[in-house]
């Protein structure tokens, strides 16, 4: 099994720790992982802003970088969802389709493909898990409070394998944090308010860390926590699953 590591642009630039943890975790689990150096961005920022027609260059590059792998894995629900739903290339439509189907979000890759049942990780802290919308509702990483359906959580099941972790229950299990891509600046007032409320739910339950599968949501909440002078930290789920402390 040959896995291509897809690291979203902002993770590459601002949160290399999350990417390193993803790589190390996959390696630890015996996966043959390669990071194609010429990757940039999945094109989601343009597409969600209404400019999907400008994402041709990103799509072409993505296909060029990743089409040869068996699986493509990324520590991000949002970017994975975008690629799965919107990767196209008029010059090679089948190849685009094929590539899109190979993309996996990290935690679901661990639970559904690798079928991980235990992890050698330890993280003795009180942790709040933020369900990012694209991962949850888009990729069905966990059950949704709106639906009448059985309860499950792929990232949650992995976190439960971590020794010493104390997972908190939130009042609003799956409310959006308000990041929303360019929404965070075009609708600054609502976005910031949503972020403050989301953070408050975690703080209210004494979280030491807020984790999740999407660094973008965490970046948003981190910005708010820091502005408030809070000591609570954000941490990507890969970093918890990879921690051996």
């Amino acid at each position: 099994m040959k896995v291509g590591l897809f690291i979203p642009c902002y993770v590459d630039q601002f949160y290399p720790g999350a990417a390193i943890a993803t790589l190390q975790l996959l390696e630890k689990l015996g996966v043959d992982v390669v990071y194609p150096a010429n990757q940039t961005c999945c094109g989601q920022p343009m597409a969600n802003s209404g400019f999907e027609h400008l994402t041709g260059g990103c799509n072409e590059l993505f296909i060029k970088n990743f089409s040869d792998f068996d699986y493509i894995v990324a520590p991000s629900g949002s970017c994975v969802l975008h690629v799965r739903e919107h990767l196209y290339d008029n010059k090679q439509p089948e190849k685009a389709q094929e590539t899109a189907h190979k993309v996996w979000e990290l935690t679901s890759f661990l639970t559904d493909v690798l079928k991980v049942e235990s992890l050698p990780s330890k993280f003795p802290h009180r942790v709040g898990m933020h369900q990012s919308c694209h991962g949850q509702r888009g990729l069905h990483l966990s059950s949704m409070t709106e639906l009448v359906a059985p309860d499950f959580s792929k990232p949650g099941s992995l976190l439960k394998m971590v020794e010493g972790i104390d997972l908190i229950e939130l009042d609003r299990k799956d409310e959006c944090c308000g990041f929303g891509g360019t929404f965070c600046v075009t609708e600054e007032a609502v976005s910031a308010k949503m972020g403050k409320d989301r953070v408050a739910d975690h703080l209210h339950h004494d979280a030491e860390y807020i984790t999740g599968v999407d660094m973008s949501c965490l970046m948003h909440m981190e910005g708010i926590l820091r502005r408030q002078g809070s000591k609570v930290k954000v941490i990507h789920i890969a970093e918890i699953l990879n921690s051996e402390l």
Binding site: Q13, A19, I20, C41, F51
Partner: protein, 459 residues
């Protein structure tokens, strides 16, 4: 008017200046969303009910002209006078004509979002006709001179103290009286007088049955019935998409409607009107107003399945924190944001962007409209058609250009990190909307790409 010039982001920013009020608005609607969750989880067949409703509506939309003709034929046979209105203007003119023919200057109206969409009250006011809204929430916003901020809970943005002030001003209640029971009794007394003296009553239509030619009006207050039963003339306004093929299909929708809207098992009054009672005249106005255009837009056709329950608004984290008026259209929230651009792309180009695309709206929708996908698709249509700000287009072009080239991307990334590190003032300023209430991420020493090149050299 203020709302005509400001977009959603600006109006939401104004709404957010009073954070305590935003919290109250958010919690009130969240409480209703939770009531909805609780009652839907009591029905193991909930998801299949949604499926069924969605399919019934799909059938209706696919055969709309057939069902409309069948419906009209049945309605006419029962003595209902049927009118067809291509747009809001025609609808208002038809209603006005009926009122003039009956020499009436006053009308009582029960809740109808369609008449809000058509701006009927304003139109009739300019022709010297007074309309009194009989739904309590609608009456309150009417006294306040405001449009409804929610399709099911029109005055959800108002606190009881503010309602007390309004009633003090217009209905003569004592000042500083905010007891809901007392205020409701006052409104009831005042409305009773209206019901007894109005010759013409207008109602909306929740469902119309093609098979029988009857229509169904759902209210919790019984106000539609009070108006329609006491008046000599009953006018019902309905959008052409409100049809159901057969009577048996109604059971599916009545089970879904209030559970989704307010968390009730069923509306207090679901009244069937099939023919005028002796001595009464019944008019039914069938309104298109953009619906057939939307029917022709493949990507947005499903939006016509909407039964106006408001569940998407209650669950929408953006709606809850920006208030209904920020959507500057009759139907606010996620569903309004996919309906409004169909009516006027330029005026409502901002609305599909008033969302984080979290997808909760699509999950609560009782007829399974793919709301968040349609929001995404509207964004593409609107930007392609040139309804976005010029600066945004340029920025996106520059971004797409940079991200299409690994060399440019790596250079820009490095520049960005260095700027943040050595010239934080370049980004930590008032011009950066992120920085207003959030800190910027701390720039790391190296990108992951740089780290990988150093640490995994074998490749």
């Amino acid at each position: 008017m203020e709302q005509a010039t400001k977009d959603h982001a600006e109006l939401a920013e104004i709404f957010n200046r009073d954070e305590e009020r935003v919290d109250w608005h958010d919690e009130t609607l969240w409480w209703i969303r939770q009531k909805r969750d609780k009652i839907t989880h009591q029905l193991p067949e909930w998801e299949s009910l949604r499926d069924m409703a969605s399919q019934i509506k799909f059938n209706v939309l696919s055969n709309l002209s057939t069902y409309l003709q069948q419906f009209e034929k049945q309605a006419l046979a029962h003595g209902i006078q049927v009118h067809w209105a291509a747009d809001a203007k025609e609808h208002n003119e038809i209603v006005h004509r009926i009122l003039t023919e009956n020499q009436v200057k006053q009308m009582v109206k029960s809740k109808s979002m369609l008449t809000e969409e058509c701006h009927l009250n304003e139109y009739l006011a300019t022709h010297g006709i007074e309309v009194i809204d009989s739904d309590l929430g609608e009456r309150i916003v009417q006294l306040a001179g405001e449009p409804p901020s929610h399709i099911v809970l029109p005055c959800i943005h108002k606190k009881k103290e503010e309602i007390g002030d309004l009633f003090h001003m217009y209905l003569g209640t004592p000042s500083n009286m905010a007891d809901p029971q007392f205020l409701t009794e006052t409104a009831r007394g005042s409305l009773r007088e209206t019901f007894l003296t109005r010759k013409v009553a207008l109602t909306g239509v929740n469902f119309a049955i093609a098979e029988t030619g009857e229509f169904v009006v759902c209210t919790n207050e019984g106000n539609a019935d009070m108006g329609a039963h006491l008046a000599d003339v009953h006018i019902a306004s309905m959008g052409i998409e409100k049809l159901l093929p057969e009577r048996k299909h109604l059971s599916v929708f009545l089970r879904l409607l209030t559970r989704s809207a307010t968390g009730q098992p069923i509306t207090t009054y679901s009244s069937h009107f099939s023919k005028p009672r002796p001595g009464q005249t019944m008019h039914l106005v069938l309104v298109d107003n953009g619906r057939s255009v939307q029917l022709g837009r493949k990507d947005f056709r499903n939006s016509l399945k909407c039964i106006r329950c408001g569940a998407c608004m209650n669950t929408c984290p953006v709606y809850r924190r920006s208030g209904g008026h920020s959507y500057h259209t009759a139907v606010a929230g996620p569903i309004g944001s996919i309906l409004a651009p169909n009516l006027d792309m330029k005026k409502y180009a901002d609305l599909p962007f008033a969302s984080t695309l979290c997808g909760s709206c699509s999950n609560v929708c009782p007829v399974k409209i793919d709301i968040h996908d349609q929001l995404y698709k509207w964004r593409q249509v609107l930007m392609k058609e040139g309804y976005g700000p010029a600066g945004k287009k340029l920025a996106m072009q520059a971004m797409a250009f940079t991200l299409s080239s690994p060399t440019l991307y790596h250079g820009a990334g490095k520049m960005g990190r260095l700027t943040l590190k050595y010239m934080p003032f370049a980004v930590n300023n008032k011009l950066n909307p992120w920085y207003k209430q959030r800190d910027m991420p701390e720039p790391p020493k190296q990108s992951f790409g740089e780290w990988y090149a150093e640490n995994r050299k074998k490749k």
